[in-house]
């Protein structure tokens, strides 16, 4: 239960902060948005991040990674959250590299992980099929066909779906929609016949896509994990995904809080700094309390991954995501309100955080989803 950073982690966090501040300030994100950039992320920035080793940060050394630990990835994500940097780190590394590492066979690891670590391959997880996160609610069919399988179905909200070259597709090979058993994961080439990708424009201007699969043929070797046992990979991967998102959301929360605090100290009305008004002070303290609680639960959850406390992870990951959803929701809303009129303008950056907040809240399960999951996990 390490609730403080060690020296290496502190160094990593500092260098992540330095890079994001220098190479990926919010102005960069705005430029990508306004240019309606085809990729939706900066190749230059990604190259710099790869150079720092972050793409391989939790990939084993034998597969070209740093094996630095999951906590490290969380620290980098936290810093990307502060500047709203849109990078392939979530879809390709947090989610896909975790899936390959946890569920891939040796051949798959040997082929895919080094490419992920060197940033030359982008991947994405095609999971959701409706507007509400529900990871076992898979209707997309994979039917035996020749020496392999034929996949048909529709996926939505696939993060980085339009830039990823290889997709991890959650399909159903048995059972009925909603069953935990009977889910099978496949690696699918985005360029394969029958795959249609439509990029969607979300309020946070990040990458997401709808992907349809029409009789897409894959070989049996494309299966990730065992037939019908996909949930055994999916569940721990989604714990890590929720946790990584929570780390990003902590960064965003801290940034909005600090900017708002600075504004309260600077803005004068009625010949007084507005930060001297007690009602605003108490609300600022409420935010601060939530932030401190959020930091603690997140830190504990990140440590649990690296300390191999596998049994604790589901509860900790859901707790962390739920707490960060509440915290960022509150702070992103208060941030706009406390900035007053200028907070409502597109010219000011605070609104970007509000938009990102709601998308991040819904990514990998919102607070409601995780509270219900916690109740299930705790047996009530």
């Amino acid at each position: 239960m390490a609730l403080i950073l060690n020296e290496e982690q502190t160094l990593l966090k500092d260098s992540a902060k330095d890079l994001m501040t220098a190479a990926a300030p919010v102005t960069r994100f705005r430029a990508l948005r306004d240019a309606k950039d085809e990729l939706g992320y900066s190749k230059d920035l990604w190259a710099q991040m790869v150079d720092m080793g972050w793409a391989g940060i939790c990939i084993p050394e034998e597969f070209g990674g740093l094996d630095f630990g999951f906590h490290g990835l969380g620290l980098v994500l936290e810093e990307t959250g502060r500047t709203l940097a849109a990078t392939p780190l979530v879809a390709s590394i947090l989610v896909s590299a975790s899936a390959i590492t946890l569920g891939g066979n040796d051949a798959q690891k040997k082929v895919l992980l080094p490419k992920l670590a060197e940033g030359s391959l982008l991947m994405a997880l095609a999971l959701d099929e409706s507007s509400h996160f529900s990871p076992h609610k898979i209707a997309t069919q994979a039917q035996a066909s020749g020496t392999g399988f034929k996949i048909s179905g529709n996926k939505v909200f696939v993060l980085d779906g339009h830039v990823a070259e290889t997709l991890i597709v959650a399909t159903r090979t048995s059972g009925k929609t909603g069953d935990r058993a009977g889910i099978t994961l496949f690696l699918v080439d985005r360029a394969a016949a029958g795959v249609t990708v439509t990029r969607t424009k979300m309020v946070d201007s990040r990458n997401a896509a709808r992907i349809s699969f029409a009789d897409v043929q894959v070989e049996a070797s494309a299966m990730l994990g065992e037939l019908g046992q996909g949930a055994d990979i999916l569940d721990p991967v989604l714990d890590r995904a929720a946790l990584g998102l929570a780390a990003e959301m902590l960064g965003a929360s801290l940034e909005v809080f600090e900017r708002t605090l600075a504004y309260l100290k600077e803005r004068t009305q009625f010949e007084t700094k507005i930060g001297s008004f007690q009602a605003l002070q108490h609300r600022a303290v409420d935010m601060y309390c939530n932030l401190e609680l959020a930091k603690s639960i997140l830190m504990e959850a990140l440590s649990a991954v690296d300390e191999g406390r596998t049994a604790d992870l589901p509860v900790l990951a859901s707790s962390a995501k739920a707490q960060l959803c509440e915290t960022l929701h509150q702070i992103s809303s208060e941030g706009v309100q406390m900035h007053g009129g200028i907070g409502m303008t597109d010219e000011h950056e605070i609104g970007f955080f509000l938009k990102r907040a709601r998308v991040a809240e819904k990514t990998f399960g919102d607070a409601g989803y995780h509270y219900d999951r916690l109740a299930n996990l705790n047996g009530f």
Binding site: S131, K201, M202, L280, V336, G340, T345, K362, G368
Partner: protein, 395 residues
């Protein structure tokens, strides 16, 4: 037949003859008529309707006839309103001139000012905008710095306004300017001028919702006839406050104004589904919606109660003081619930994958964040209620 029955019969007949059929269908935002020199009429019927109503003075039914108004009594106005409702007539004109400026001109302006400006407001010939807020003077409106310096029979105006609604489409502005820099509230004057005057420039502000209903407005040595000052020199704050009361009454009414066509719980079922018993398949969301509906209902009834109290001359109308703040929070809460229940369909920006209604919800959610800022922040509103209604001490 009594006079009022006579009036009802005549009104009904006139409306029957003069209100075009397409003006008896539900309003659509694109066909809303704001008037002005550059008025556009997507539907030509709305031009006819405005002209006919304007000629009768029925866009401002109770304003005196000598200023172009309808000159109706309160009872006659009630009849007109009920007859308009009966045929589901659209409003002929939407206008800050009607809602905000007109009432204070009637109270504070000189006879010649009334004769000059009010008829054009009634007929929708001039569209007005409001020059109040400044970058450094938001909640503290009286801290405004835009200066008007007297030079013979003109004022020379320099400074900047912000949040000027539709300044890029308006003809004239009613504007607060500083005419004395040595005092705060007693150094402000209320002045009217043409937005086409040399030195006026306008820049739309893009909001987080993507819309641009507001502008920044810059004044660079704008020369304005001194006769267009309303009320006494340096006494503009009194007028400004009265006008804000009219504004707040308009802005407060979120809760009832935006009643969606389909009840919230039916929208929720579309996105979340229902269980075997027909209950929304998310019990926590179900609870939240029920809670919202109770509050929404209580809010609407509070509106109605305030109205009944005023009509009866009962009470101090204290409940009206909370309508703006409660309405703002309620509408923000409604918007959050909507995009919450819609899942990832509630966070689309544009393009494929989202229908118009969905995009409208998302944009509306972003727009709603301004409800607790515009027309006096909720914080200021609470300060005022604490002091004036609850009688709590100031330090």
């Amino acid at each position: 037949m009594s006079d009022i029955e006579q009036f009802r019969a005549e009104t009904r007949a006139w409306l029957e003859d003069n209100c075009p059929a397409s003006m008896r269908t539900p309003s659509v935002a694109e066909e809303m008529v704001w008037g002005g020199r550059r008025a556009t009429f997507t539907n030509p019927d709305s031009k006819v309707w405005l002209e006919r109503m304007g000629a009768k003075g029925w866009t401002a039914p109770m304003w005196p006839a000598q200023y172009g108004g309808g000159g109706l009594s309160m009872a006659e106005n009630a009849v007109l309103e009920s007859e308009l409702r009966r045929i589901k007539a659209r409003p002929a004109l939407a206008s800050f001139g009607l809602w905000m400026l007109g009432p204070v001109l009637l109270e504070f302006a000189s006879e010649s000012q009334k004769l000059e400006h009010l008829p054009k407001i009634v007929r929708g010939e001039i569209r007005w905008c409001q020059g109040y807020s400044e970058p450094g003077a938001g909640s503290d409106l009286a801290g405004l710095q835009t200066k008007a310096v007297r030079d013979g029979d003109v004022y020379v105006i320099n400074g900047q306004k912000v949040w000027t609604s539709y300044a890029d489409q308006c003809d004239w502005i009613f504007c607060l300017v500083r005419t004395d820099t040595t005092v705060k509230h007693n150094g402000i004057s209320f002045i009217l001028f043409d937005m086409q005057s040399p030195g006026v420039s306008v820049k739309p502000i893009k909001l987080i919702s993507g819309e641009s209903p507001f502008c920044e407005t810059f004044f660079d040595d704008v020369r304005v006839p001194a006769r267009d000052q309303v009320g006494e020199l340096n006494q503009g704050w009194t007028i400004a406050k009265r006008l804000l009361q009219h504004e707040r009454t308009n802005i407060g009414d979120f809760g009832t104004a935006q009643s969606p066509q389909t009840p919230m719980h039916e929208q929720a079922k579309k996105y979340i589904g229902e269980d075997a018993l027909g209950r929304l398949d998310d019990a926590a969301m179900r609870r939240e919606i029920a809670k919202y509906q109770v509050r929404q209902k209580a809010y609407g009834l509070t509106y109605a109660r305030v109205g009944q109290e005023l009509k009866a001359g009962l009470g101090d109308g204290a409940a009206s003081s909370i309508l703006k703040a409660v309405g703002a929070e309620l509408n923000k809460h409604r918007s959050e619930l909507m995009i919450d229940m819609m899942g990832t369909q509630g966070i689309g920006w544009e393009g494929d994958g989202f229908n118009d209604w969905e995009i409208m919800q998302t944009r509306g959610w972003l727009r709603s964040k301004a409800n607790s800022i515009e027309g006096g922040t909720t914080e200021i509103n609470k300060n005022v209620v604490a002091k004036n209604v609850l009688g709590l001490p100031t330090k």
